[in-house]
């Protein structure tokens, strides 16, 4: 069974969004899901659960790290934080994505041949 995320997003997109969000501030899983949903104005259909395999992949690549903390709401949560390697990876991915987007936009742009 493939994750739905892969049907709606291109591979690596979720990871990129997670990294971008974590760059702004360290977050725990639930918060991360809410932030992504909110900032995308609910335009992207993402199952909250699909976040976790992506997080595990990032953890394994050591692009993020995680610590158990007690949150402001007095809840035991696992906070994810970007590592320097993660920041570098994000930069690289974003520039790659922008190039790709530019390419796609040019192709899709009407009447400019």
């Amino acid at each position: 069974m493939k994750n739905r995320e892969q049907r709606d997003l291109f591979p690596g997109a979720l990871e990129m969004m997670i990294l971008r969000t974590l760059k702004r501030q360290p977050l725990h899983g639930y918060a991360l899901a809410q932030v992504i949903k909110r900032t995308s104005n609910d335009l992207l259909q993402i199952e909250e659960g699909s976040l976790y395999p992506a997080l595990q992949r990032l953890l394994k690549e050591e692009l993020v790290k995680a610590d158990w903390r007690i949150s402001s709401t007095n809840r035991r949560v696992r906070i994810y934080k970007l590592t320097p390697a993660g920041a570098k990876h994000l930069e690289h991915e974003v520039s790659r994505f922008e190039k790709m987007l530019e390419g796609i936009t040019r192709v899709l742009a009407p009447g400019e041949s």
Partner: protein, 884 residues
Amino acid sequence: MKWMKQLFLRRRIYGDLSDEIQAHLEEKIEELVRRGMPRKEAAAAARREFGNVTLTKEDSREVWRWPSIENLLADVGYGLRMLRKSPGSTAAVVMALALGMGMNTTVFSFVNALLLRPPRRVEAPNKLVELWLHNRVASGIQGYLPLTYPDYVYYRDHNQSFTGLLAFDGDPEPVIWNRFGEGQVVQGQLVSGNFFSVLGVNAFLGRTFLPEDDQTGNPQPVVVLGHSFWQQRLGSDPQVVGKSLLLNGTNFNVIGVAPSGFAGLLVAIEPDFWVPATMIEQVTRDSGRLTNRQAYWLLAVGRLKPGVDATRARTEMNRLAGVMEQDHPDTNKNLGATVFPAALVPGPYRGYVSAFTGLLMAVFALVLLIACVNAASLLLARATGRAREMAIRSALGAGRGRLIRQMLVESTLLSGLAGSAGLVLAYWTAPLLLALKPASLPITLRIPLDWRVLAFTASVSLFTGLAFGLTPALRSAKAQVAPILKDEAQSASYRKSRLRSFLMIGEISTCVVLLVGATLCVRSLVNASSIDPGFDTQRVAVATLDPGSLGYSEAQVRSFYEQLSQHIGALPGVSSTSFVNHLPLGSAREQSSAIEGNRSAAGQKGVSVDVLRVAPGYFETMGIPLLRGRDFIPKESESSNQAPAGAAIINDAMARKLWPSQDPVGRKIRLGEDTGLEIIGVVKTGKYRTLGEEPIPLVYLPRLPSRRTLVVRTSGDPTALLDAIRREIQTVDPNIAATDLETMQQYMTLPLFPARTTGLLLGASGILALVLTCIGLFGVISYIVSQRTHEIGVRMALGARRGDVLKLVFGHGLAVTSIGLAVGLAAAFGVTRFLSALLYGISPNDPVTLLSVSLGLALVALLACYLPARRAMRVDPMVALRYE
């Protein structure tokens, strides 16, 4: 070492993950509740938004794994648990498969030992080729000849293809080793001086031969000992180099010991020692063989030079053969040369060996097929039983591939278990088969279970596992989830039982083919055993002796045999003794051509006859009836070899051929160079070359060479006599030992060997097939009955009688059986033709065999149906209906 850390941390990671997801859900629920949603609804909503929790966990965990291997391990663990759950059927399937695979492994281990295994201890055996002469006008195996010594020397000295060309005697030479004044028979091999150096074999002790040891005109009496001979017979004497052995009356200097495991280049022959070929006169007393251009006795093997392949070598050898043909037109006419890749079975014979072992492989592959069908139908039944489990797993998100893999893992586990058991089986049966070999054959065949056999069994296991597991796996993965979970499984089972019926038809027809083959072979064996060889096989003991090989004079030979006759004749129970130059039905043969003596016109074509040389009393001892005239008298056999022979006795077949309506006694014949032989008697015709032969004309002559076979007739058990005969030979002359001391019955295992082995193996395959088919049929019918319990209950509740139920169940079994029989008989009709060469006195399409196999199988099949049918009859409608 990151992966190691991950491996150990994994349990904690998984724990964290569960906690985290749990926390996520709780936080979500709380938030929803805060917004005013009832808690119960909030929980459902949280889950909905989150997605499949289990799948998320699995996917997350998978990140940390080597997914394929770990999933496989999980599947294996699960599969093992499933197999342990139903130990009975697991054991049945494993045993059936193990029998099939065990027999296949056994046959393959023979194929491996004979055809695949390279000679041991030899350097780069793939660079070696065998050189054979090939008669262009002869056909088949008769066309291939080993080399004569002059041929060998020519090829050795003139070829450009080989770094060296070695040669060795194709037959092991039995030699008397005189030790502490007592003779023992050992096996030696005559080899060229470069034998060891071309093979790249270094001595374990001392040195191997040098070309100087093997020079015509100046042969050196030197010997290289085989490693096991040195270990077992000489107690691993470290000082053995420099000592001498008295072999056939000549002292040979031990110059070295061969490395352990090296046994030359021929399958099944492990020489005790090697001597230079030029020493042949001292070993065999055959002085002319080195110059004889018609004695084909040397197997030649060359090592290809770098850059030369077999094709180029063959071209060159043919060119050299052409030169020889021009130089010696009288002997080398039509003789070309060819090369084969060197292997333990000589090139020309390889085809026969592979055809025979191929037949056996095919037969046991069929047995394995039957076992596979059984396993497949059991798995199908189990798959139906597990449809619910599969549906649940599928509903929980298990992919189709995952389910198929799970089923395949289980079937491969079964076959893997069976393969291991089969290996154990092969380990025991291979030596058992070897025990069928006649004791008189001086061969030691090693059947190692080496990596090739292991690889074969492993791949057969894997392949059968996939073969019988695939159909059930595909079926169960295809199952519709919803109907099964809703308990509507009934409809699906019919199609499954139809598939099983097809499988059964295949199984029964395969079984018919095997049974027909087996019955034919067994009946042929019975026929062959009951053939009258023309002499008594019950109360006779035999022993082969050759005092001439020790260099004895003609007078010494005669005195030895005279004394031996007296000693043996005096033993209790012995009624008569005599001698023959070689026993009938053995490998030795003497042929000549006979012409009726009175009209010795030039150019007259003679009758081709076999010749046996016998002492007085031979016919009485062997129990061969004298039809007319008289036996030889001592005077006729004692006269010196130079004087004309005088008397001859012929067999009935010869008498009919030359004098169809007259009494041959008193008439004269010319036999080869012997003229004026008077016929003094006629004896009954027997079998001389093979048991299946047509009557062959044969002439008995009264004079014997020094190599003879002693035949002794006793009134008691000849086995008890063997020790006494050995003792008497020792008493008369301690230097002499008998080579083949055995009873006539033991001797007769030799001509029956091929028929007996085939009969036994095919018989075993037939019985195996029958048992497996019955188990399969029983299983299928039982299964169908259990599936239709509900239906039968309804029928009975509606008024069906027991007879009707019986008809219902039996009808199915009967239909399957009769279709299977028809298909099988048609197939057997086509297949048994391949057996005809092995059959004696029975047609491959023998109607009695076909009929009795059909009847027998039908009967057994019906019996296998009866038990489940009876159970079906006893179905209590109330219980059956309540069951659902």
